[in-house]
């Protein structure tokens, strides 16, 4: 593979001139012509790795994400990639499975590679292990306070769900879910929901389910038992189930349909997570939708500013983005 020296020689000019040409700096038109000829002849393509080394900069950003299999993370990955690309970065995708050791290895890799920055979605205190000089933004959780955080307003989302149920004449409020992986966020959702219920004196109850890590069958069985309990205990009520994630919501819906329960007239369901891909799948769940695109944009913008040296630290930013309620087929229409 030919390099700048070959081009310079072939064109009969010096390497510096070729460099100038490639970087759109003024070059006499005859040298320009011969350089172009040489490039075409030799099939030259510039080596950006060398360029970046020389400039001591990098155009890589590392994204560390638990998984890419769920709608929310898939969509988030998509938008982050698109934004970074728009800003001139290339994205190195690192899938952690939420394993701490794995996450740490990725951080090491990022530092060894001298990447421009890191975006993490980690539920452990990963950021403690990151050099303070490294531009980084955390999504969903960041406890150390050392790095900027972007998250959606999980608490408000819980409230919103409860409020939506109240407008739909629900008499028994249920919160369903639990997930160790992202405890903080999940807990906020739950608290938002129950706080609203309690403030408004609405009868509510929380049911915890096993972590999805224990396998689908365990979860499914537990969910089934829970639903049956709910149905019999509150047989004379209009039930509203707020599931802590769309995955739970969808599973609950399917099981209720198998049980021949009338959704949404007897039981209404609201999920949490969103992202268009879960929306696309029929039947459409009513759900609290996170502003995925906005999360991605906020995160990438912030990161870009850090890289550019425009600070954005001190005080470290905490962006809490608004969620919204999207009406699907699992809640009744309000007049």
């Amino acid at each position: 593979m030919s390099n700048m020296n070959d081009v310079a020689k072939e064109a009969g000019v010096s390497r510096g001139t070729v460099s100038n040409y490639l970087n759109n700096r003024p070059v006499r038109s005859d040298s320009k012509a011969s350089i172009e000829r040489a490039i075409a002849k030799l099939n030259y393509v510039r080596n950006t790795a060398a360029r970046d080394l020389r400039a001591s900069k990098s155009t890589f950003v590392v994204l560390i994400i638990p998984t890419v299999w769920t709608p929310f993370f898939a969509e988030l990955t998509y938008w982050i990639q698109k934004n970074l690309e728009g800003q001139g970065y290339k994205m190195i995708l690192c899938i952690s499975n939420s394993e701490f050791d794995h996450e740490r290895e990725y951080v090491t890799m990022a530092e060894e590679q001298r990447v421009a920055g890191i975006i993490t979605i980690s539920y452990s205190d990963l950021t403690q292990h990151v050099d303070a000089e490294m531009p980084l933004v955390a999504i969903e959780k960041e406890k150390t306070g050392l790095f900027p955080l972007v998250t959606s307003d999980n608490y408000a989302g819980g409230q919103l769900a409860a409020e939506a149920f109240r407008e739909r004449d629900v008499t028994q409020y249920i919160c369903l879910g639990f997930d160790l992986d992202s405890m903080g966020a999940m807990l906020s959702r739950q608290t938002g929901f129950t706080d609203f219920c309690n403030e408004q004196h609405l009868s509510n109850k929380v049911y915890e389910l096993p972590s999805s890590k224990q396998g689908r069958d365990v979860l499914k069985r537990a969910m089934m038992a829970t639903l049956q309990e709910i149905i019999t205990d509150f047989s004379d009520q209009k039930i509203g189930i707020f599931a802590i994630s769309d995955a739970y919501a969808k599973m609950a819906l399917t099981l209720l349909q198998e049980m021949k329960i009338d959704v949404p007239n007897k039981v209404q369901i609201i999920g949490f997570d969103g992202g268009k891909s879960s929306q696309n799948a029929l039947p459409e769940l009513s759900s609290i939708r996170q502003p995925v695109e906005l999360i991605a944009q906020t995160a990438t913008d912030n990161l870009n500013q850090q890289i550019r040296g425009e600070g954005k630290r001190h005080p470290v930013s905490r962006d809490i983005l608004p969620v919204s309620f999207t009406e699907g087929m699992t809640t009744v229409k309000t007049k």
Copy 2:
């Protein structure tokens, strides 16, 4: 950020010795000790970008994929990432939306970055624009014959679906779908299905739907109309619908349920695509499952061999991987 010179100076040895130490080459134990002290003191981390430039190699692989939002692509992305990581590569994720210009830009980027190799899932003839020296493997489609191809056996998948229906006493065979994006693969599925039916003298009919690019509502309406037509035309038959993708299958299922059609007793459905995440979502579709993990592994192994210079070109390999039928809730159980 400190470099090897700083470490050498601090440790009172030469740069070469530090390099030897870092690469596990024999070093006298007292220099070793002082180097370690220096590294710790200066917080030194090696710069792999510089290392790779010097060695004229790269540890990056580019993955160009249409999207990451569907179960199949999400799972594929996951496994490719994991395999590449296991082989010591970092993966640059490029999401093309199946846009040709976009794909080409990614290829240029890859060549400028001097990446070790490229994995593409492209439905245009992208590979014509790739330097023949660049290690590359195509997934699903590669027409030029210049680069290795890994794909699942779409034709056999169609046959398999028809065969499954026959075992389940279906009397009217329907093939549902159409997608410009991945025409080749989709067509093979359809042909496999209809060929089997025709060979076995089974009454069959193909319905084409608008591309999903035209939006969900258009598709949904068309699907609804088609299903109604099918139901009335074949009201006295046991119908088997083979949908060309799980997305179509799921949509068909939902609509049929809305229409109060008995699935699977009146109408049975088999989808195509697979990947555990679509399996995870209840209700479970009966489906032709692609060996996603195997596709990923075959592709990454092949790429790795190319990079290592073990050829694997001439003749260029064509790996056609076996699909399988997975029983879900949308077909009747056989005795």
